[in-house]
Symmetry: D2
Subunit: 341 residues, 4 copies
């Protein structure tokens, strides 16, 4: 397959993961930032892949057409235009941006700031969170999908945290609260004042309060999972670490599921999931998941207060982006799933 | 006055603040860790104070008796025994621990792990959060108090964040959620594995989920402020920074106060407060308050979701401990308030 | 006095220090970045100073003329043009850049990349390292100087570390080596890729190897101090911390001073210096000096290897810039020296 | 093979590396800290290895005897007693401690604080720095060695940095200076005050100035490489990062090799080395080598000052310990070398 936008943090991880996977073959990589150079000058990858030339974005379609599937690690507005073109050439697409995650076209001007150029694809796209099949409208999952929308990093952590509770009707879906904390790689490879060391180190603050684009994505997934109208108030914060993301979700217990059974609900829900671990909430740490494809969750119900807390951690560049994309890719082409190592 | 437990992080800040305040006179300092040495060997303080000898804890009462007020920066179980002794000798006390913050003696075994040795003092103690007078049962505040319980760091930030909303009846007091994030100095000067650099750096996790001792304190203050039964689900997290604490509070709007007036409610509530700043929630950052006596808050109502988010930041060792103690101390003795510089 | 370039990290520290000093009066501040706003919107300063309007750079001369002394926290090329203009108007100048530190005009194209517009001022400028008077050619120090060149941050630490040894002839001045490590604030307030959190955090590297502009400054000062031709190989490194700078200097013992007397040599040299502390080399840490005006040094001679190691730490924005500038300023106007608190 | 001391940072890396290497078979692991539990409860390793039970240290010999080679990640004093026992049972040993690195038994009381219990093994031990064969006295390298002393982390970086220059006679071997900076994992998994987050974060200081045990190791290796008496003044510093080590070495050019040829000397010396990269000194960064088995070096000669600077970086737990141990292990048993990926 090919990777478009290979010079970004997620794109670089994709290159490494695809190169290491025995069943996958990386035939082309695209990024203006590294155009004209060899991939190996920028990313440590096996020799076979290191010698790939990086093509400019203007060649994205030509390069992608040489593969069966194109992995897009491009900004949403770029993916929104590029994906339809690739599909038209018969190339299947896994898009790591938000361009095809939301079913409602009207959400794009509101949350992403642009009018969607290919709204007809929104209903077709498969929302690819493998451990929460009900987050997608496609019954067959990624298998027959032409277009997979890879979930957002915070969204993955939040949906994993709340889906079992919403599906079981254990909480009030109308008042869920998610506090997200992410390492700086989640902001992408941009030269901006807010991403300077002097701005981030020894500091913490919330951003996009009330208007982070993962909000509609989390609500959509949970609404589908629980067949309810989910409302999630989501606040992200920028953490002074490189890698890792943790969300702490709060909700009100409905009383439908006894407090003592809430944790068992999680263990059952994720027992089949190789890459989702359930532990005590205090054992859900960035260190346990960073540089791995795992997500780790912990839940604790508070009988006295009628509330439940779920902590959910993952590596924002892996389970929150590149390794989840590989899970979807492998499902699409029938390759062995991502090693659970 | 005197400082007992001057070798702790908060104790050291107290020494510096008292030494710098023109109207205050530091006459004695106590700490086993530095006993027998001079204060100036450990903390940068003006010469007059640098030459004070640090007495051992066994001399705490004798040393404290030489002053008008004793500032206790000792663990709760120690303060619980020491404060009554000092009061019996006519020394007024500002206690930085949780030993006298809760009115209900039964809360101590449950949340602090010990039986309170002087429960009769709990009703008398003034809960000293100057900007939220209603958090205390003492009408006169610190002025005539013999014993002031200095609030906890997370508790200060959380109460400041929610009190105006609870007092105005703007939110449902039965389902408030507080996500706390604190720098490591908040854990105190202990040699423990969880506080090692290799455990904290590049990492984040929640701790004491469902059983952090600031929970009853926050609920008590908000219950008093709003004359309601407040329920707060509080989850703290350890941040890889040295100083600074931020809480993000979530609550459901009751509808009593129009969304558009929620921010004005905060600005009015804190207009008289020299040390509380109200800004946009994204401008509430650790950097803005670290090493200062300020607290900074931001609020945003979400009309669509019927929720409100408040971010609240302060320096855990200053507004969350030592500088707030000085605010209380100055009020007790009628000294000019802490400079708002 | 006035501060030109008040919006930089050093400039902001200057504003705070001047505002806090009882004998100094800040009458004007200049910076394009904050032009048109009040100083207090950006820096926490006392009310009297907070209301100062920040003037644009185009008004620098007019603003500076209202004061007795102008503190320039501008880039070297800007200071090089501005200082002569201010001097012509009778305003004395303390320049925090390198524009007037080197006596040889030819050094400017080589080390700073520009031709000096006012080379005639280079001989007049006083190199202001108060604790090493011999680093300057002006016998009277700052007292009667019209123009003071405030030393560089690494240079201050390195000169303090080596001057006593060079003056005593204890080392071979032809082969001195200085390894510098500085926090990121030393790079200034620029939006550059190399200063991004993702580039700096968990990372370290040397930069400007063989061509850092503090090299000629260190050699000039030590040559003057020891009346020898000093050669210093200096390599700076960017540290993933905000504040603080430490240099480790290595030199070969000449044999002239017995090994056992080398440390005493330092203690004698700096005994009169309020702001220079001498400790064991392992007790020279960033934490001890950050946010203070102190420099701290430690020395250890290795008899077996015939070498000596000196560690030297200071806060790059304070003793490495702003507080040293205040030391010079106070000497210029005869104000009480910087409090040693 | 087996790993003794698998619970340490280096031991855990060994487990991961051995488990991932197709030709190696991990049959036993030992550590008191994890005794009685499964390896997979502590380290993410493939399933086959995850189920290994961790034996207590008291069983070390029994466990190690089941394998061909034992990797010791134990403190020097422990290795010094354990290795002879294992050798007596016919088990070959790769020791990651300093217990067998120095040829002179008298160096052990001086630098390590204990009398060596098996000094007769010191002459036999192979000093295993694969890219600098001349650092060992064994002509055949690790191939036929019963006992391999894996080099220290700082020592590896310093020897790689200086060996080419010493071997070519390009520098004065009597005055070499090495400034080391290492991430905290290099200090091992200990609960000590100096390793607390509050002590390390935002801080830097030198330690063991004049008495770090890597000093005699570096001098011994360079003396052997250059057939001279090498003198190295080495000063390590503790960096506020988790992983990564960089040394900056300074030396005086002898004049034997023209300045312009110094860099070529390095490129030639390391051209055959898969795991040593030569770049510009500013491109030698922790980020480039952390989490990889590579070392990266850069050199710059200063004609004017007659000095040379070499920067040398590696991951202290990998090329500075575990991955270098694997290089030695593979050489011992004739397995394919460590993949250069």
């Amino acid at each position: 397959m090919s990777i478009v936008g290979v010079s970004g943090f997620a794109g670089s991880e994709l290159a490494r993961l695809v190169a290491e996977h025995a069943s996958l073959s990386l035939v082309g990589v695209v990024a203006d930032r590294w155009k004209g150079s060899k991939l190996g000058e920028h990313v440590r990858v096996p020799a076979s892949v290191a010698k790939l030339s990086v093509a400019p974005m203007s060649e994205a379609v030509n390069v992608a057409r040489q593969g069966e599937v194109a992995l897009l690690a491009t900004p949403a507005e770029v993916s929104a235009r590029l994906a339809p073109e690739l599909l038209a050439h018969g190339v299947r697409v896994v898009d790591l941006s938000g361009a095809f995650r939301l079913e409602d076209p009207a959400a794009y001007p509101r949350w992403y700031g642009f009018d969607h150029p290919a709204p007809e694809l929104l209903a077709e796209a498969h929302y690819g969170l493998p451990e929460v099949a009900s987050a997608s409208t496609r019954a067959g999952g990624a298998r027959d999908a032409r277009l997979v929308a890879n979930p957002g990093c915070y969204a993955t952590a939040a949906i994993l945290a709340l889906a079992p509770l919403v599906e079981a009707g254990a909480i009030d879906p109308g008042s869920m609260y998610v506090d997200g904390k992410s390492g700086v790689s989640g902001a992408g490879r941009k030269v901006e004042e807010r991403l300077l060391f002097m701005e981030v180190d020894e500091n913490l603050s919330a951003y996009r309060v009330g208007n982070h684009q993962h909000t509609p994505e989390i609500e959509q997934a949970l609404s589908r999972a629980g067949r309810v109208r989910a409302s999630v108030t989501f606040v992200p914060h920028l953490l002074p670490v490189r890698r890792g993301l943790l969300v702490t979700a709060f909700a009100r217990l409905s009383g439908k599921v006894p407090h003592a059974e809430v944790e068992a609900l999680f263990r059952r829900a994720y027992a089949p999931a190789d890459l989702v671990e359930v532990r005590a909430p205090e054992d859900v740490t960035l260190a346990q998941v960073a540089y791995t494809p795992y997500a780790r969750l912990g839940v604790r119900a508070d009988a006295e207060r009628g509330s439940v807390v779920v902590t959910s951690a993952l590596d924002n560049l892996l389970k929150g982006a590149a390794s989840q994309a590989l899970q979807n890719l492998c499902a699409m082409i029938g390759a062995p799933p991502l090693s659970s190592h």
